[in-house]
Amino acid sequence: MSSEFLICIAILFGLAAIGAPIALSMIVGAIAYLALKGQDLGLASEQILQGLYNSFILLAVPLFIVAANIMNAGTISDRLLAFCVALVGRFRGGLGHVNVIASLIFSGMSGSAIADAAGIGKIIIQMMTREGRYSPGFAAAITAASATIGPIIPPSIPMVMYALVSDTSIGYLFLGGIVPGLVMAGVLMTLLVFIAKRRNFVVEEPTPLRALPRLTVNAFPALLMPVILLFGIYGGATTPTEAAAVAAAYAFILAAFFYRALSFRSIYDILSSSARSSAAVGLVIGGALIFNYIVASENIPSAVAGAMRSIELSPVAFLLMINVLLLALGCVLDATTILLVIVPLFIPAARELGIDLVHFGVVVVVNTMIGLITPPYGILLFVINATTRVPLRSMIQEIFPFLGVLIVALLAITFIPELVLFLPQQFGYR
């Protein structure tokens, strides 16, 4: 590791710490590194541009963002919610269960935890806090916790990023996330049952069973979306990137023609806000491309692998260490930065230790999603705070039990690779 590299790191983290955009901090750090090394400063723009222009897989990112925004604007979220209320709203603490199930289904379409929390989460928090049935802090905490499932169940923007840095198959990664996503939903709902009993939560007026068929029909086209996506990818019909476009197109057709919930103006607004989010995410990816180029030219990943070899770390100890490290980083960094900047450092070490890279990918994605709700820096908490005005303090007071069970789920996924690998193997993974 050269002194130039240490300066580059110091600049990156120094600028990021004082509130400069992370993407620009990475680019500035990279330019400083190139200048100190006496290399061509144009290399920064070259790596960023060539990287973005040549990776087909990244096109899935803006398309999934568009799809999620269409679903939030086009009443698709509302219909799904009505369906979930009818299904699990009848139990004690029912709206909490609705929250988890809705996240589970919605996550089969959007690929972004933030879209989940901002869209469906906002509506459900309003439902839960109406007439003071649940405290706003509790409603917000369960919403944040269940939104972490979003990017574990395919499709998933974070998994696209992991596939980019690790060269693993995005199709197998998506498949590998399905069971862990269900496990996460399972532990959250189990916890809810306990909390509901202890705090004696209200039992909702059950939706009459004869309304269920109508609500199902109403939500059916939306429920079909994950099926179309998965069939498209695993039936071998489309690539995951094309599936992202199909998802967006399907959401558009549903919202515009079937549910008639989109005006020309709202389509424009959807595209405008999607363009902003895509640009912000794309720029971070660009910054990570040049940063990873420097990391690779400094041979950092193989140095890390060498260090792991010399201390004779077992694969289990390695995974445990990575989990602790990433959870700690998740308290202060966002998931995109961790996946694009930190995780690549450890991929060669994981490979050398014989850890399956699809398993490793799902573990780190689950881990970084938990990082989205760890205080003090948890993007999901901020998003919910911004969209619902529930104070951060009351959310943070309620979040710890949820955090606890999600970490238990993470450990299960870490130490039982079959939870991740069973489904991909059914579809011909090694």
């Binding site: 710490a17 004082i18 509130g19 973005l52 398309l63 199909v246 895509s278």
Partner: protein
């Protein structure tokens, strides 16, 4: 002046929406041509990639403001106004300085790319990549303006995207 900037921002937004819509349509066209008509079009994928690069840098240049960027702002938002000013000044000088210093080399790389053309549409890559220059200049201007604002006591007024 304010009116003009508002008007320009709305037009920049139009361009970004147009680019994203074009990307989306090209992708749909690609899927339809490949799977429905069974005669894949070659140019659609390239059109997508080009519009993606443009959405990223055009958007980052003119539309994404500081709040919308991915950033870590715990220290910043808990600091006093005075400290914030110092933070913002250091960040602005570093960012404007780095982009300005690398601007000539960036220009060299991008104009060098005129020797290459995109493989299907045959668009010169210096045109495709030129949006990065627009982005770099916009960043220099924006953070340069912030340095000026800090020294003239105008810092803290709501910042424009453009």
């Amino acid at each position: 002046m304010k009116k003009l900037l508002n008007w320009l921002e709305a037009r920049a937004d139009n361009v970004a929406v147009g680019l994203l819509a074009a990307m989306f349509l090209a992708f749909v066209l690609q899927i339809v041509s490949r799977y429905v008509l069974n005669s894949p079009l070659g140019w659609t994928l390239e059109a997508c990639l080009i519009s993606w690069v443009w959405v990223v840098f055009w958007g980052s240049a003119f539309l994404v403001n500081d709040q919308e960027h991915v950033r870590f702002d715990i220290l910043y938002s808990s600091a006093s106004t005075r400290v914030r000013k110092i933070f913002a000044l250091i960040a602005a000088i570093a960012i404007a300085g780095a982009f300005l210093t690398s601007l000539p080399a960036t220009y060299d790389f991008i104009s060098f790319m005129q020797i290459e053309k995109s493989s299907v549409l045959g668009i010169r890559l210096d045109y495709v990549f030129s949006v990065y220059l627009i982005f770099a200049i916009a960043i220099i201007v924006r953070y340069g303006a912030r340095i000026v604002a800090i020294f003239t006591g105008k810092f803290g007024e709501p910042e424009r995207r453009l």
